[in-house]
Point group: D2
Chain length 399, copies 4
Amino acid sequence: MPSHNGRHFLQIPGPSPVPERLLRAMSMQVIDHRSAEFGALGKQVLEGCQAIFKTSGPVVIYPSSGTGAWEAAIANTLSPGDKVLMVETGHFATLWRNMAARLGIEVDFIGGDWRHGADPAALEARLAEDNAHAIKAVMVVHNETSTGVTSRIPEIRKAIDAAAHPALLMVDTISSLGSVDYRHDEWQVDVTVSCSQKGLMLPPGLGFNALSQKAIAASKTNSLRRSYWDWEEMLKPNANGFFPYTPATNLLYGLREAIAMLLEEGLDEVFDRHRRLAAATRAAVGAWGLEVLCQDPREYSPVLTAVVMPPGHDADAFRKVVLEKYNMSLGAGLSKLAGKVFRIGHLGECNDLTLIGALSGVEMGLAAAGVPHRRGGVQAAMDELEGRSLANSETAAVA
Amino acid sequence: MPSHNGRHFLQIPGPSPVPERLLRAMSMQVIDHRSAEFGALGKQVLEGCQAIFKTSGPVVIYPSSGTGAWEAAIANTLSPGDKVLMVETGHFATLWRNMAARLGIEVDFIGGDWRHGADPAALEARLAEDNAHAIKAVMVVHNETSTGVTSRIPEIRKAIDAAAHPALLMVDTISSLGSVDYRHDEWQVDVTVSCSQKGLMLPPGLGFNALSQKAIAASKTNSLRRSYWDWEEMLKPNANGFFPYTPATNLLYGLREAIAMLLEEGLDEVFDRHRRLAAATRAAVGAWGLEVLCQDPREYSPVLTAVVMPPGHDADAFRKVVLEKYNMSLGAGLSKLAGKVFRIGHLGECNDLTLIGALSGVEMGLAAAGVPHRRGGVQAAMDELEGRSLANSETAAVA
Amino acid sequence: MPSHNGRHFLQIPGPSPVPERLLRAMSMQVIDHRSAEFGALGKQVLEGCQAIFKTSGPVVIYPSSGTGAWEAAIANTLSPGDKVLMVETGHFATLWRNMAARLGIEVDFIGGDWRHGADPAALEARLAEDNAHAIKAVMVVHNETSTGVTSRIPEIRKAIDAAAHPALLMVDTISSLGSVDYRHDEWQVDVTVSCSQKGLMLPPGLGFNALSQKAIAASKTNSLRRSYWDWEEMLKPNANGFFPYTPATNLLYGLREAIAMLLEEGLDEVFDRHRRLAAATRAAVGAWGLEVLCQDPREYSPVLTAVVMPPGHDADAFRKVVLEKYNMSLGAGLSKLAGKVFRIGHLGECNDLTLIGALSGVEMGLAAAGVPHRRGGVQAAMDELEGRSLANSETAAVA
Amino acid sequence: MPSHNGRHFLQIPGPSPVPERLLRAMSMQVIDHRSAEFGALGKQVLEGCQAIFKTSGPVVIYPSSGTGAWEAAIANTLSPGDKVLMVETGHFATLWRNMAARLGIEVDFIGGDWRHGADPAALEARLAEDNAHAIKAVMVVHNETSTGVTSRIPEIRKAIDAAAHPALLMVDTISSLGSVDYRHDEWQVDVTVSCSQKGLMLPPGLGFNALSQKAIAASKTNSLRRSYWDWEEMLKPNANGFFPYTPATNLLYGLREAIAMLLEEGLDEVFDRHRRLAAATRAAVGAWGLEVLCQDPREYSPVLTAVVMPPGHDADAFRKVVLEKYNMSLGAGLSKLAGKVFRIGHLGECNDLTLIGALSGVEMGLAAAGVPHRRGGVQAAMDELEGRSLANSETAAVA
């Protein structure tokens, strides 16, 4: 059995592997967070974030996980007893719902099967019924990290507009930002929530809120108590590149470099790459005779692919074999999907050859773990990357 | 004029310079935060923190600044309308007071002159008056980073006990932990608040709460809404080394190494070193004919020394000269001390020669900025480090 | 076309990718090379090298490339006009021959076709003819990096012994050490030449000589002028862990860690891993319908595989496509093989998934470059890694 | 006694401390040394070296120590039996003489007292006597690292010209390059020898030769055997940024960055800084009542200051106290100076505050070791840095 030599393949849907360039950037010595040098850094990252979120409005950066950024979005816009509309797209949507409830928000939670994204029509219907405009916010997860389903935010925007409803639109882009096309301003999102350890390729430790003017207006009058998360406290010093409390300087060094990397490659190219890698992954899954959890091709995630285990086989036992035998980490099924799916992350600095290496670990791992499957998934992924249809493949001609 | 060549002297009272060993530790690749390998890391740091806080109870680690850890202490123990007793030791005590107020807590704020620590007698008197036990918590800052004054927590503990008052004792050790002797259990502190970027020598990004059983009991019944900061959510997965949301893995790598460094040197040796460096700094200040802000020798801070500028001279103009001419960052006076004091940090990895280098930058900077002073501060600091009294110094004999 | 995003696949046969653990080890601050701390480091690496070379005798470490270590072997043992026996296994054997000639050595160079290793029988025959023992040394390359052919040193040892010839045996292990089983003492090698950037996984910059007593004896009387390379100058200070001139300290930090990594995995496990990866690579080459340059299965290199391009196709044009389209570096054909072969390195920290990723880049690159081939090489490599023969593959059974 | 906490003060005259920026640069992944990307790197560093050596001719870079670069200078220009003129400026000049002798060169070694540089008049006299032009080269050490004496190369140039002698001028700038003004072309030096670990602030591992056309011409006809060191082999691939054997890639990454740092600060500013620090150091030595080894103020080294120990006191015992008590490394006396001097390095990234820290370690160390001295050296150094004469110092006015 191979030992755990060589490079670990970290193919969970985040944290994604941190490029060496970013590790180096973060290894610079910390500086005085009240100095002019820091102010310049702060301005660079705050402006750079606008390019990534595609907004001309403010982006707030917290020393926190993405969960903290969820709380910030709620704490700054809502009041205890407020009603919001959320959609059960999976584990993380459910966690966000639970958080809202803990904070005293009444959540209208549209049920889901964890295999589809948020349904714009259902949202529109619910909003249309709300003549009193009791619903203060629509809160959806852009890319459900637990299921590999990407909700269609532009259509959700249209649904809200069609219902002529004034609710805020708050979107969790924790696992989509920097990997999937996202447009805060164009889609008129009010609060975009995100974090550092997925498409931004950084270690965990930064949470983000991008804000609309409407969201800022809501923050002037809502009554949820807050201090750490308070936008107003942030926005004042942010104007000069500073923060109201000690920021996570070394992660900001990394953020500056991560933004530079994304813009050097080009955001559209980054998004295309993620789509290609995801398509190749699904081609492999199909060739193996396994099922992709996501059921609507319009909602396939470019970030990760959740794969359904055949009945009677435990996804976690399989993942353990893959880790021990092939030195690769795959994502676990979460909550009600525990043991039933495994998740392949193909985000961040992932490229064609890394993906094929990862898929070979899945294919060989399926065999090693005795999971029934057909072989040929890696080959199918290569076909997809090369733009060949299976039909005209020369594979069949091989002796 | 010398250019900004060579090593920057970061002599602010935090963030303190990050030792290269810690920068290297943090530059390791991120890992799966749900893996067994992570669980082992989590256990190591959580147990290591107990040694540093000197507690057998749980320590909670947040991806946050120290400000976040303040909020966590409040959010988990208090309810809106609760009354607490705080002491105006300086800027940070005031900020904490403001935070409590924002969160709906009624603060009885004992005024102070920013030159003394929390007065145990005053606290005892106030508590003794509170027959109804309306005061739910006594909240003090151990080392006031804005003033260089260290409050005497054991005496405060005795004051509470003398008043036979059941209030929780919550202590901010943001700038003292790892630099000044501190004993969570022995001093029966209920919540100790701290962070990564001072005595722990790490970049900012981690907040800590050490908890007593009494504090945990309070958290079962208090009513402040919370989710991100909720201890219970933390403590469950922490038992196995995990976290309820994605932790700041790379900072935890650094934390593991920082704890190892502190224990290798020996906590008592670390504290002694800080005291020596602080004494040497004060010797320099005295020789310059300047005044240390702290007025009670029992409360001199081992972490930083705030120095009062002579009237008519602006501390920030002086600091600018020092930065430009000697490539050293000194701490600014904050809030009502702005321009009136500068602060010399001598914490973390600071040692004798680094301190003398720093003090020479102050002495030469005073001259360069035209601030009236006597020379000889560096010499006095050396005398102090060498254990000479000025009386028997051979300096006078020099031609 | 994919951009050059993500991890570069450096699949040349050296320098091999440097593990992050080694990059970190080398990023430590330089120390006084005359200090006790340095002496301890020196002893550690000098002793560690004995474990890697499998010798109880001295190992000499130069700040140099491997080429320098070649020169050291010659300069310390031979005299101008001396005759040596060498074998034309490929480009590097030819370069070593040229070097010997430049240094005034008369080389009897047994011709070769660059597809076979050194022939023990031919060596024995030549030595048997040399009744006068004019031949002072037999010099062979263990693993020819230009061809992927590994000569059988134990059989060469036997050939020398069978001829009862007193010639020194000098072996170049530049690309084999740490990747292929090698036994300096057991095989009675007199000088083993090596370097840092292949199986030791370090950056280039260190050259090695492992010495037998017979070699040291030769160095007492030979007459080639030398100073930098002189063993005697080295061996004296080496006894205490020091060097006669400033050593490449940071590479020695890396060497200490590299030795630790190899011993942690276990040398036998390391060698097995290289053999497996090489076998999988050859399986891929065969499936593609291409030819491995090495023609004797006993001499297949565990380190790299040189692949013959189909007539009319330029290996360098192919390599360029692979670099641009798949962000992978393959080794070029050297000298008379230029354009005719490409070389796949599978050494150092390479593991199963990295290899499959690399092979997929070759397979997709062949297609992209319009090089005729059959598909299925990656699949065949996976079969090999999984220990399946193609015969009993379940692939056929796929529904 | 203080433990070895905090930053080590590495105040030996090389290796000098490596700036974190350079450690980071060298921690990049190794690349294919035959790639276009490498060629660009190679060109950058080769051209950058021209700016540092102040030459429009070629600079050759070896993976070697500076000692190797010495050997290269000899091996490429001289023939066995050739006569050269050298000057006994100290330990390193003696070592170079010994090397030349080992390589078969006849050395006319002008004796010295290790307290003066090479005497231009003596050189001129010797050359003037050599009517037959038997002397093929004049070889001098620019900055004698063992003594802290800097020879005046322009005057030596003039001396050679005054004697109308055709000898090559070969200069060792191992410890001066990047710290002391040096002009290869203007001073018509034929071979300049240098290395990476002093003024270039890199770890050891690179040796340099800068070449004149006259030196290259000599290399066409000289007869010392060479291969590794051969310039011609280097110059051919260097034209495109490549090297004839595997270069020390990661050190080249560092070299690119080191050159950038020197040019950003400005070479003249770098030289000025070294001069100021050296003057301040000598001021301290004088104030202590100790003696600087160098006896001619025109030859004071900007790089290091060797200090004579009072009779009856052992410099190495003193250095040990300083290392143990103050975590600082000072340079030892070498060879006949062993125990009699210690050397203070003030080169590379050293700045004012670092120097004062270092000098305080010397002053406190002298006291701790019981070495008779006056106090006030640190103060005198500060006076010097501030541009005050002792006469108008306010020190006297201190109470």
